[in-house]
């Protein structure tokens, strides 16, 4: 009896590998309801638009490690803490000495889209559905994406890049409402429109037109938009049903300490499923956090003095069909703002700060210094002058130029701020 991990996503798989490395004597069993595991969920948009083939998605293959048992296609239905046993969907029972819950999130599907008999509706979260969508799109390219958050915006940009007709619908008055200020979101919206994405803000899908089991159109703002494909990217939430009665869930959340420990000293949680309580409640919902948390949960499993996560940030970077974005986060309220915007270009750089500490911001169009600024967010206070220095783009590329120096003409090569 060793360590059992629920979920073989980013957090679960990293936890499993780290477990085997840190505690070689402990056997590890990973259980995941998906038929395939160990893939980059983050690459689903590039897989759907056919920029990437399937073999590029997998980061893990079953190797000969007899102490690592990965059971794909099996769900955990319930946790019996008193007997330290899991109940599985294949009617087996699985005892554990230590348990890591890394079950991620499930896509939120609005009731109107929950029509299993209709073909053409695809929640964006897992490979099985992505594979179906990829094939489906071939003959049904007219696409509507419901949800202008990170996943929806990414998918829209990637589909537009491959010339799919895309309509993106967001309930709020701006794109990326949980990540960007209205001004910054405006830059992203203008760029997507420039790339051919049709945008509806402050709108939602309120009806579907179905014919012969096929989606024909969706109604938005009293207007029918013909489409055969509807992607649902309305966010995701942990599905904690299997923890009902376990006593681990508080007001719908699986809360852990910064050492990723639940209220039960034998049970840890990592990744999208976990809410970290550190004064505030924090849910990073990003791939890098899932990886780091998976490793940390594994390191802490049998440790006498558990380690804590380094300071938490919810940052994200992406390339939206030619527009680079480094998102440092959007604080709730009470912050000052420093902005650098280049009129006539897509460069928009914004920092939010409070008492000399950087608490968020975004770099759009030119993301130079992103790493330094992210690092500064997790450090102490910095001066306004320093922030202003970093808010100015500092890309460098080779430039050739002719300099006129009186009657002499000289060719010069230098490294200066580059374009793009």
């Amino acid at each position: 009896m060793g360590c059992v991990i629920i979920g073989a996503g980013a957090a679960g798989m990293q936890a499993a590998l780290a477990c085997r490395k840190n505690w070689p004597d402990s056997q590890v069993t990973v259980v995941d309801s998906e038929p395939e595991v160990g893939y980059y969920r983050t690459l689903i948009p590039q897989f759907i638009n056919r920029a990437l083939t399937e073999d590029r998605l997998f980061f893990w293959q079953q190797k000969q490690d007899r102490e690592l048992d990965v059971r794909a296609g099996v769900s955990v239905d319930a946790v019996d803490r008193a007997n330290r046993t899991l109940f599985l969907s294949d009617n087996q029972r699985l005892p554990y000495r230590r348990l890591i819950i890394a079950s991620g999130g499930q896509p939120i599907v609005p009731p109107i889209c929950r029509t299993p008999a209709v073909r053409g509706i695809f929640p964006v979260r897992n490979l099985t559905v992505a594979r179906r969508a990829r094939t489906w799109l071939r003959t049904n390219p007219d696409t509507v994406i419901l949800g202008g958050g990170l996943v929806g915006v990414k998918l829209a940009a990637h589909l537009a890049e491959f010339n799919y007709p895309v309509t993106l619908i967001e309930r709020e008055r701006q794109l990326l409402p949980q990540a960007l200020s209205a001004e910054a979101a405006g830059v992203v919206a203008a760029h997507l429109q420039d790339k051919g994405v049709r945008l509806f803000l402050a709108a939602t899908v309120d009806d579907l037109q179905i014919s012969g089991g096929l989606l024909e159109a969706v109604r938005v703002d009293a207007r029918w938009i013909p489409c055969r494909t509807l992607f649902v990217a309305a966010g995701s939430l942990p599905d904690l049903d299997f923890l009902a009665g376990s006593g681990l869930v508080t007001e719908g959340r699986l809360e852990v300490t910064t050492s990723l420990q639940t209220g039960d000293s034998a049970i840890f949680a990592a990744g999208d499923v976990a809410t970290i309580v550190d004064g505030d409640r924090f849910t990073p919902w990003t791939w890098p956090q899932a990886v780091v948390q998976g490793k940390l949960a594994a390191a802490n499993l049998y440790a006498g003095a558990p380690l804590s996560l380094p300071r938490l940030t919810r940052v994200n970077a992406m390339n939206l069909n030619g527009l680079s974005l480094a998102i440092l986060g959007l604080p709730a309220c009470g912050y000052d703002r420093t902005v650098h915007a280049d009129s006539g270009s897509t460069i928009y750089r914004e920092l939010f700060h409070r008492d000399g500490r950087i608490v968020g911001g975004v770099l759009i169009g030119d993301i130079s210094s992103a790493g330094r600024l992210h690092h500064m967010m997790t450090g102490g206070a910095v001066s306004l002058a320093e922030m202003e220095e970093y808010i100015i783009p500092r890309r460098k590329a080779m430039t050739a130029a002719s300099l006129s120096l009186g009657k002499y003409r000289k060719k010069a090569t230098w490294l200066g701020p580059g374009g793009g």
Binding site: P288, S324, R372, H375, A397, M398, L415, G420
Partner: protein, 176 residues
Amino acid sequence: MKVIAVYPDRCTGCKTCELYCAAERGSNSKSLLKAVREEPSPMPRVRVEGTNELSVALQCRQCRQAPCLDSCLTGALRRDDQSGIVVVQENRCIGCWTCTLFCPYGVIYPWPERKIALKCDRCLYMEIPVCVDVCPTQALELVDLAEYDTVLQAKRASVLETIRRAGDRQGALILE
């Protein structure tokens, strides 16, 4: 493990390292004169930072616990087992810039035109890194960390020796 050591006191901020890095590692032609005319413009993996008074050439430190490795969304970043160097496998990089955002030293650069992240790989497959080779003031040097450790060990030993010789004498110790 061999790393590039930087000597700020010798750096004049001339940016020769940047130019040659861009030409040698970022261009197709590999020649300075032709590289400047290439599209997209070649970009360097080493950057001279600082002011006229104090400048320093910065490149990837090949962190032992590298945040970029944990952040990679595609499996493009990998540590070369033999050298310990963190490399970008360009054929797997999609240019999402997540590693750029996670590098605390700010030394992973986006190259949007080629959709890849750029970082110093110490010119892994060359005899000597190009920046080290061209630096006119030897402000960059290739050092073996193991050798460096030996020097530091000797230093620590001499400090201990000084302390031992001082015995329980009062007052400040002068260390060499």
